[in-house]
Symmetry: C2
Subunit: 348 residues, 2 copies
């Protein structure tokens, strides 16, 4: 099969790899229908995170089950499935409280499991899925092709935006500020609107992203950043601040802005992988600003979000503005790196 | 009247001061029945926080209303009242969502209000209470003297421990770890037990405090600190960690322990004023550990806690193990500084 390996910053290649086979009785083999490139893949692509050895890459995919191991109970050949960006057994104590991203048997696509067995990356033709029962979520029927982008978005960005909104404790009627207009930030806007926020303030300076933000439910858009942007949010809220804030970037500036625009007692739900973030604990303490979030337990939210997509209640696939054949994976990365695309879908 | 001023580290004096009088129509004058010394007063007493000019000190008191300004509606002469450790109008947007500690018209005892008018400290015979309607909470009748310690504890430590427990999001049946065995940590144990925690793990190495911890509902006591103490909590929870953690100290080590013993997805409710705390954001992110809390909005919790005290459901006054006449205020500080007392009550 063909699958993607990252060799070094800006060196992403689609290459021949052995077809995956069942290795453990809890595995499934999935034929990928669509995969995509994540903003967090760019940390490697840009050299912000090290690529010490060539790595199979990609952690978002939907596909069709080809084969299941002898202990797989909930899936069968032919099922259309959504994979979260981590695999998990969904039975350990952490999974049982909904933090599947801390599963004691779980792991990352493209990385080793507890026995050192490497998992496939998602940007390929086939994937061996460890702990298939605990990881994959199937649809009842094979969905229309038009549904695929929105189901694929559930693999990571929509579940991650949802996690930010859950962590921030959004209540009906809230004013919510969203820092970050990447695919996760946009998904956070959609989550906030779904949760009943009355006002959703998107911080975005890009026309195309502002349009999606509005389509997802943003009621206000603030283009300014830094202190000017913070002042604008405070002005919008009569000096009070937002009832809940989603931090969907992970830089020092984005977190500083998120905390500055939160009203006393509010929580910043953060899902941007922290790079250079220093939490200002004295300021947080004096204003009762909480921070909560982290690596999103997408698996927790998948069944409900799948149903929302299938019913037409949400259309998170709007974040895909570039649709390429898998052969053009390198271009898919370059377009996101150069901000020509918000998010690239790849079709094997 | 007599009232307490701190002049410098370890220099606390009871001196003659002018009797307070109504300055604004929203003021009340309260004759203090009992006051106390706070762990946070010790930051000044020990020189950890600067004493730049002599300051009136004390922010916890209960007493009898002597006189009210012309705009005070809810109180009358003779009412027994509990004062929270900050005054607040209880009507501004922050107060209305229950964060009275961020009141836009509020302030600290012994400090200036928005017009520069100085408030009295609580460790004196009389106090002019700004914004009396929004600040004070009265009991229906004058309580028995035996109730006074528990009502006084609501001024700060019990409300602060309660805030830690609320911020940590304790659910019925939870296992809760409490870092800190001062009066606030002990109050946090009581709050956790009241909220239905099944297991409350007190981290304490002092016999007298362990006894109060048990009386307040601690089911387990861990004497070890640092990594050994953390390992002990993890062992108690089968390696999973606590469902909720209260951080009631405010040092770098206490926060590190609180985060280390939290299970993935848990929140550390923190109320210890941070001194040297660095929040480990990458570790928090990878394990989905939230932190929430800050300067406790005691006023929010006062009516309910008052009723719990008066019904006998809780007895937070157990934290007072030294009862002195106000004249001996200096000894009251020294006893707490030298850890001969957990908390000192002062009677004018």
């Amino acid at each position: 099969m063909k699958a993607t390996t990252i060799y070094a910053p800006r060196d992403v290649r689609l290459e021949d790899q052995p077809d995956p086979a069942i290795q453990k009785s809890t595995d499934a083999i999935v034929k990928v229908v669509a995969a995509c490139v994540c903003g967090s893949d760019l940390w490697y692509y840009r050299g912000d995170s090290p690529v010490e050895v060539p790595m199979r890459i990609g952690h978002e995919f939907v596909g069709i089950v080809q084969e299941v191991g002898s202990d797989v109970r909930s899936l069968r050949r032919g099922d259309f499935v959504i994979a979260p960006f981590m695999y998990s057994d969904n039975t350990c104590p952490h999974c049982r409280v909904g933090i599947q991203s801390a599963c004691s048997a779980g792991g990352f696509w493209g990385g080793p499991d507890r026995d050192g067995l490497m998992a496939d990356g998602g940007q390929g033709e086939y994937v061996r899925v460890p702990l298939a029962d605990g990881t994959l979520v199937a649809t009842r029927e094979t969905p229309d092709d038009a549904m695929v982008p929105s189901l694929l978005a559930l693999s990571d960005v929509m579940g991650t935006g949802w996690h930010a909104a859950m962590a921030a404790g959004i209540q009906e009627g809230d004013t919510v500020a969203v820092v970050g207009d990447g695919a996760v930030g946009l998904s956070g806007i959609l989550a906030a609107a779904q949760m009943g926020a009355e006002r959703v303030v998107a911080m975005s300076r890009h026309q195309a992203r502002q349009q999606i933000a509005r389509a997802f439910g943003a009621t206000d858009v603030i283009e300014a950043r830094g202190e000017t942007g913070e002042a604008a949010v405070l002005e919008l809220t009569s000096g009070v601040g937002a009832d809940a804030v989603l931090e969907c970037v992970g830089t020092g500036q984005s977190m500083a802005t998120a905390i500055a625009v939160a009203r006393p007692g509010a929580t910043v739900g953060y899902v941007g992988v922290p790079h250079g973030v220093v939490l200002p604990v004295r300021k947080m303490f004096s204003r009762n600003i909480g921070v909560a979030g982290g690596v999103a337990p997408v698996r927790q939210y998948l069944p409900a979000l799948r149903d929302q997509v299938l019913s037409g209640a949400i259309n998170p696939g709007l974040v895909f503005d570039l649709d390429l054949p898998l052969e053009q994976v390198a271009e898919g990365y370059a377009a996101m790196d150069e901000r020509r695309a918000i998010k690239t879908m790849l079709r094997p």
